[in-house]
Symmetry: C2
């Protein structure tokens, strides 16, 4: 049985009000700063529950942290992430989906899963870096 606790709500809301991807640690820090006495372990649990339930997406940052995000699009999609400021754009990639499936089956693989993410510098950060 799943129960409704203010902690879970807090995590869900904190995720919702964040623009880009956040680490569990970062989200915990933010909640603490906001005055919430929530525990770190609880944030980890809530996040992986949300990810399991499809309410959040997760990915590994290039530094090896697990990052989470509440995504607006319901279905399967990928991300374009600014490696400087964290700005995230959701991208549809039907072409890539079918490509992945094809490549997999062409080589005899079943149950394909794929990791497809694009990192870069957003327009603003590109300007800032160049300047």
């Amino acid at each position: 049985m799943k129960r409704n606790t203010w902690q879970r709500e807090a995590v869900r809301e904190a995720l919702g009000t964040t623009d880009g991807f956040v680490s569990a640690q970062g989200l915990h820090a933010a909640l603490r700063d906001g005055g919430s006495p929530i525990g770190l372990a609880t944030v980890y649990r809530a996040l992986s529950d949300l990810a399991d339930g499809g309410e959040a997406d997760s990915l590994q940052s290039m530094e090896g942290e697990a990052l989470y995000r509440a995504c607006s699009t319901d279905g399967h999609h990928h991300h374009l992430i600014c490696r400087n400021c964290g700005l995230t754009v959701e991208i549809e990639a039907d072409a890539v989906e079918t490509w992945a499936t094809q490549v997999a089956s062409a080589n005899g693989f079943s149950q394909p899963q794929h990791i497809v993410d694009v990192f870069g510098l957003c327009a603003a950060c590109t300007r800032a870096t160049t300047a």
Copy 2:
């Protein structure tokens, strides 16, 4: 100045004789089993040197480990990996390359990097699992 030590050679060779991706820990264990007194830290250092020098590819497994592999293809390419036995197929993906670049610039992003890997069950493991 770069020096040639038997340790570096050992790592290079161990990588070369491995089919799929290996974790640093796994490679170290293999070398030790083979009678080499090489140190764990050294394996890590050698691997990241090889990766830097373009002699090896690295990726993050779904379990959060860093995996390494000596790749035959010189240029940029991606991988199709069996999540059960580690069998790896190198795949060319021009379509994906251009797609990534396009998506990035369409959204104002510069310096695009992308992570594109496909995991699945290879033919053999599919049979084994179904049986």
